[in-house]
Amino acid sequence: MSEATAAIERIFRRIGTGNEQADLVLGGGLPANSINIVMGQPGTGKTIFAEQLLFHNASADRPSVYVSTLSEPMSKMVSYVQRFSYFQADKLGTEIQYEDIGPMMSSDGLAALVPWLSQLIKNTSPKIIIIDSFRALHDLASSVPETRRMVADLAGLLSAYDTTALLLGEYTNEDVQRYPEFAVSDSIIQLARQPLGTRDERYLRVLKLRGSSYREGQHAFRITGDGIALYPRLISPRMATSYTPRSDRVSLGVPGLDDMLDGGVWAGTTTLLVGPTGSGKTTVAMHFALEGVARKEPTLYVNFQENPAQLARSFTNLGADLTAAQRAGLEFMYASPVELQIDSIVVGIFERIKGGTIRRVVIDAVGDLITAASDVKRMHDYLYSLVQHFAVSGVTSLLTFESGISSTGNLGSHEQRFSYMSDNVLAISLGGEERTRRTLRVVKTRNSAHDPVVRQLDIGAAGARVS
């Protein structure tokens, strides 16, 4: 490597956040030798984000320093950090140092910060400096010019030395325009919490990252015992236009149904199965899953309505040997619709198919995801992206969708919104006086002939059958 290349690489060096998914969102981590702001209201997870980074970057030759100012007492901070798995007691005092400058700042004022930091650099050569809360320091300023002078001086010092700084603060969106630290920062990461029904959803968003691409938009996260569990917003794979679609057909596993589809659906395609409650969508989906494992195609069954015991009973009632099916590659993913966190579910599905072994996926039902979503448009984007991933990965999928009660088999407006992202659309209708007569119609197939006739769908002890 040439000297010039090495120098350039040093400029674009990244500091890992200790969170693989956050690094993915940030295009590889925070830029080294940078000033970064982590903003968010109290309780949004700023300290956890910073401490995870702190412990991840701990090194024996150069310590990382957490500087507490005027917000939380240092003792409380150190006490809480011990609850997390990233905490390593043996690093405290050597590789990781906690400093409390609250009393000094209160007595000496804003001007004391930069000289103190300069001395810290001379004494300890810190690799990481975290200042929490930086926003609270504004309370000490006697004038705006004083604050601006201090921030300019701070930026000069932190840019001069090979260190990466995080300034944490309870900043609001308005503060971004108001406070000078945002102008000198290299990155701005926002953590937010917003109510959704009876629960809250947390989001991370990158507002600024100098000289680097990053994944835009809201990325959901949870706070767990391991720190921040982030679910990066799913984006369509870049290679979606250049992949080679599979050219084999796949059986849906329902006797008579493949004949309506010219021998089955194309492998790697997505089929939307629409029908009202009680029409047999789940039964058809279970056939599809069992056919998959029978053909040595590991299948992921994602389900939100029946808990694992209920679903196991449904499979058994269908005559399946569930234990054998699971040994053969049938996997379940269940989330209660009450606690459904769509980002984690969709990212979880993506992670499972990324392993490369899953060949079929059932999502029963996508309507549950939409109901749980705070932003329906975002959910549509997610599903479209997921379907693209299925196609690129050669995974054949079946999505069920509960429609309104209709005897015509025509798609309603909700269903139509999903049909554009599906290669095949099947609609089940209930008819007859007791609404017990099921019919199935193939609404659409891409690149394939299909039977236009509405056929009878019978569901009995042996499962479903089209006649």
Binding site: S2, E3, A4, A7, I8, R10, I11, N33, S118, I121, K122, S125, G156, L157, S159, A160, Y161, D162, T163
Partner: protein, 139 residues
């Protein structure tokens, strides 16, 4: 603190050409800590004059300094017979390794300041200088 010997047996003197006050302060601290004597100039013209007067063992210069930039300073130093043994290290915010070499610099380092890298480079340059430019005998 031990003093770092230069080629001629005296303690190595470093002339730092830098206008950023934070970098000046940190360079002074870390180089002093490592045992070097440090003098400062804030622009290229003043640096050349000071170099003629004090004959530093090493000049560490930023490219972006007023009046005479760091690369022009380097070329000027190379033309001065009296400064032929002076080592020049370009230490810059610019990725200017090739241009520094073309201007006659002995080494290039990219900012920001990392004291271990800086001190190590200075020591290596002094060691090379002792090898390639043997110290004159006692007067």
């Amino acid at each position: 603190m031990s003093s770092e010997p230069a080629a001629t047996g005296h303690h190595a003197i470093i002339l730092v050409v830098e206008r950023d006050p934070h970098i000046r302060a940190l360079e002074a601290f870390f180089l002093n800590e490592a045992g070097f004597g440090v003098e400062f100039a804030f622009d290229g013209v003043a640096a050349l004059q000071l170099a003629r007067a004090i004959k530093p063992d090493i000049i560490i210069t930023e490219v972006l300094v007023p009046k005479l930039d760091g690369l022009a300073l380097c070329r000027a130093v190379r033309k001065e017979a009296e400064l032929k043994d002076t080592v020049v290290l370009v230490f810059s915010i610019l990725a200017a390794a090739t241009r520094a070499r073309e201007a006659g610099a002995d080494a290039f380092l990219m900012k920001p300041l990392a004291e271990q890298r800086l001190v190590q480079t200075v020591r290596e340059l002094l060691a090379q200088r002792r090898t390639t430019r043997p110290a004159p005998g006692p007067p």
